[in-house]
Assembly symmetry: C2
Homo-oligomer: 310 residues x 2
């Protein structure tokens, strides 16, 4: 049976000339480490659900990405994170929105999937659930990074919300993973700090099942990154699955059609990572760049950042 | 041009023998009033978006329904409401989750659609947004009803969360509306207090675009009611739209397939109300009953509660 994993670290205005070689090296190495972590899990015969969780945890723990430690600041200068995970075999899912202080929101989402009658928890209630299940809690300082604080200050000055990548000087990102395990099961997961300067308890596409995150053994596993509001209006992840199921399109065709045709029509840009049960992988994005990596059957790891990267 | 509106007041274990004739009369009259309010708006040449908002406001203001005044209690004995609205012409949407004290959550969702860069707001932030836009705020007592308090006490005793309709003695419900206006545009809206005894800031399907609420002039407008977690895993509203768009199915075929075939396969029950740009209406449900009503071109109003009602 084929097995494999693909990850993203966010899409946006990522230009080669704006990225120092030192930072580029750090990002490539972090993406590679996430893939290795996921692949090892799959090689050991573990589930795709576990592989996407572990791969994402490595990125949540790394301040280079906009998820867990290193998440962007809200308008009020705090950090509120969203995450979701879905199992393609059972269609079970877990999701959290606007959660504070939880070290690994993706593990919280997985705990919701496994130990709750609900799918989506939010705010203080989600953090209470994390504490009840003895998940790691960190003080707010743990999540803070100087780069993110500067991003917020700039955004406040411009009085606009912004995507983590929309400022060309800042190229961090939402993270996601999709995997196929040796048992033929798919899983998808996404984790993010959302948009810098977000207000009013804004929830983006990442924690929404069928929008930012979706997995179904009948079709594919998807994780999205980009301007969430457009992804929500397009129901991006499930749209790709439906094009496969109802029109018989391939993973590549379906995901490219949604990213390059449908989303731009309403003004949206970004990307997705997708995998199907045959081990096909598609990583289309309409932005300047997308941090991404993939590996099939433990063979070569592909890591890329820019459009012309491969 | 045809125009029309359909509404629901929730689905569940609604049995004729359990409903007093007095209560039945009150419910039928409330459903009729909501329809009349929506139809008048459409006859005046107003938008479908406005018609669904106004129809839902009448039900939010009526303690018979689980939305606005009369919403169910959370585990902690408070009231947290969810709502969403979507315009089929622009695909713009507004949504709120876990909001307290706002008299008409559907108007808050419409205000998010019209006056915010975001689609989905939550918790205290959503209430702050309501205050900034001078929406009506009510003290918590306004929302409280004795019936709901009894429901919570029972649920706490049984230590289970429950759908508003799952207890045969309680037959209140989430509310929704879909409409087609004289300009050929569709809109959908849903508003709810969620599940009695819900915890941890649980968010259900109602405020999720593409799941509990969806509208697109290319296909249809949908509002769902039922056990939200199953609707989320099935991405119900957008699934119906995709069956129409990608397989060419009729509104009736698509909505019946999802409610009677796909949803039961994963253990889910409930119903949807749906309308398309030709003015076709479908109201399939798999539960014992669904409070529902519809009217096309200002002709006869159809009101129904039970399965064998028409």
């Amino acid at each position: 049976m084929p097995f494999g994993i693909a990850i993203h670290g966010g899409a946006g205005t990522i230009l080669r000339e704006k990225l120092t070689s030192e930072k580029e090296k750090a990002i490539r190495s972090a993406l590679e480490f996430a893939i290795q972590t996921g692949t090892k899990c799959l090689q050991d015969g573990e589930t795709a659900l576990k592989a996407v969780e572990l791969a994402i945890r490595t990125m949540e723990d790394n301040p280079l990405f906009n998820a867990g430690k290193g998440s962007v600041f809200t308008h009020q200068g705090i950090i509120e994170m969203d995450a979701a995970i879905m199992c393609g075999q059972t269609l079970n899912a877990g999701s959290v929105a606007g959660v504070r202080g939880v070290k690994n929101p993706i593990t919280l989402a997985k705990t919701v999937l496994e130990k709750s009658d609900f799918i989506m928890l939010s705010g203080k209630g989600a953090a209470d659930f994390a504490k009840q299940h003895q998940l790691d809690i960190e003080p707010l300082e743990y999540f803070f990074t100087e780069d993110r604080l500067q991003q917020l200050k700039k955004a406040l000055k411009k009085q606009k919300v912004q995507l983590d990548h929309s400022d060309q000087e800042d190229k961090y990102g939402t993270v996601g993973a999709v995997a196929l395990d040796q048992h033929g099961n798919l899983a998808a997961a996404t984790s993010t700090g959302g948009m810098t300067n977000k207000r009013y308890g804004r929830i983006g596409d990442s924690p929404l099942i069928g929008i930012g995150t979706y997995a179904n053994n009948e079709t594919c596993a998807i994780s999205c990154t980009g301007h969430g509001e457009y992804f929500m209006r397009s129901v991006v992840a499930y749209d790709i699955a439906c094009l496969m199921e109802y029109k018989g399109w391939s993973l590549q065709q379906a995901s490219e059609h949604v990213i390059f045709e449908k989303l731009p029509k309403i003004g949206g840009s970004g990307g997705v990572i997708a995998i199907d049960t045959q081990g096909n992988i598609a990583l289309p994005f309409s932005s300047k760049g997308m941090y991404r990596a993939s590996q099939i059957n433990g063979e070569d790891i592909h890591v890329a950042i820019f459009k012309d990267d491969e």
